[in-house]
Every structure is written in structure tokens, then in C-alpha cells.
Amino acid sequence: MTSHSIAHSDEFRAGRELSLDHRKLGMWLFLASEVMFFGGLIGTYLHYKATLPTPEAALLDTVLVGLNTFVLITSSLMVVLGLDAIQRGHRRGLITFLGLTALLGAIFLGGQVYEFISLAGHGVTLQSSVFGSSFYTLTGFHGLHVLIGVVWALVTLVKAARGTYSAQEHAGVEAFGLYWHFVDVVWIVLFTIIYLI
């Protein structure tokens, strides 16, 4: 194992050989663990959906939540358009799209809070039944991730306003984008297993 000198700057040469960026790789590894975390909650929800069928499931308002799903999908579009904007050097475009993303995320959360309140009105609460527990826990943890996403969007927006990102360097935007789309994919799965089937 001989070692002789080569310019010291290039730490991530091996990553580029595999066309990997260590920050994006770190993000995907984190998302892999998040898939497993939601996997545990989804497994729990499906287990009780199969063993404890309950009339309370009929109280779910699929149409309202369908619209909410539409809001989240639109926010995903905003994120990619924002990323596309900064890749073309349009900092203002990025800022507007990040603002819209945060807004749509907030609307989604509003929709969920509304749904939770109406469900609680029908007596379905976290403590009322196993269905209540598993429903609120699964959608609650997802809502928490959306909330974190909204805050992250605003932080990215402020950093963009301060000129942190450019056409050459926008790793932060890409990382946020991956997180937001992941939260959207989780919702697509939840929407299906809770409301559709």
C-alpha cells in the first residue's frame, strides 16, 4: 500500500466515479430509514384494519381528503419548478415557488386539522378506539413531517433570498426537494390504504 501525493482538494473523487454526491446520498439514506419508520406504522395500521373492522372507518370524508391530496401534489410541482428555476439561475423564481410550496403545505395541514376536528366531533379520538389510535398516529406523524417540510421550505426561501443558492451550487434546494417529494409519496400511500381501500 504505497502512498504518494496527489492534489489534496478532491476528497469525494470516489463518489464522483460512481456519480454519487455525498450530500444527496446522505439524504437518500435518511429517506430509506424514514420509509422503514412509516413502514412500521403502516404495518400497524393495516394489521388493525384487518383484525378490527369498525364502522368508524365510514366517517372518513374521502372527497375532502382527495382535494387535500391534490393540494400536496401541486406543492410537489412547485418544488420541482423552483429547483428548475434555480438551475437556470432564476433566484426570484425559486423564492416564489418555495413560498407557494410552504403555502400549499400549510393549506394541506389546515385541511387535516379540519378533518381531525370533524372526526373528533363524531367521537373518534386518539383514545376512543384502536382505529382512532392507529388513524391519528399514522396521519399525525405524516402531518408532523409536512410541518417540518413547511418550516424547511421557509428556511430555504430565506437562504435563497440571501443569495445562498446559484445555478452552480444548490445542494440545499435539492435536499429539501427530495424530502418534500418523499413526504408526498408517503401521503399517496396513506391516502390509498386509509381512504381508498
Binding site: L18, S19, L20, D21, R23, K24, L25, W28, L29, L31, A32, S33, V35, M36, F38, G39, G40, I42, G43, T44, L46, H47, A50, T51, T62, V63, G66, T69, F70, I73, T74, S76, L77, V79, V80, L81, D84, Q87, R88, Q168, E169, H170, A171, E174, G177, L178, H181, F182, D184, V185, I188, V189, F191, T192, Y195, L196, I197
Partner: protein, 98 residues
Amino acid sequence: MTDLSRPTHDGRRARGYVMVFLALAAITAIELVMTQIGLSASAATALFLILSLGKATLVVMFFMHLRQDSRIYTAIFLLPVILVLAFSTLMLMSAGGH
């Protein structure tokens, strides 16, 4: 994080994203309509699973750029997804066991 492989930008990329978005919106609309018309439980379940798989694949391939990024990212995402599918199926199966 500039992947050199990305082509020079023009409107084409943005239009691509909008197309994907429209597909997602369309599928969601179809799903909502299907909830209103009475379908047999098993048929509905199968259809909804396929449609949501389609939506998820669209988001992951295009919005999350897995289509043109390294296969390693796809592997990192797919392994846990497969494990969750296996775990969830077993949780459903063991429902009727005891």
C-alpha cells in the same frame, strides 16, 4: 451538487414536470370518481393499489430524478420499500392466524 450529466436547461424540463403533475392529478381524480361508483371490494383494492403505485413511481422517477440518477440511489430507496411491502403483508396475514 451539480450533476454534470444534466442537459442544458430550456423550457422543456419545466414542461416535463407539468406533464407529470397533470398525470398525477388525473389519477387522483380517477381514484375519487371510482370511490363513488360501487366496485367489488377486491377489484377496487387491486385497482387502487395499482393506481397509487403508478403515482408513487411518477413522483419518485421524475420529481426525485431517480430516472437519470445513479442506480445506487434507486437501490437505496427500493430495498426498504420491498421490506415494508413484505412486513405489511405478513402483518395482514398473521391477522387471521391465531
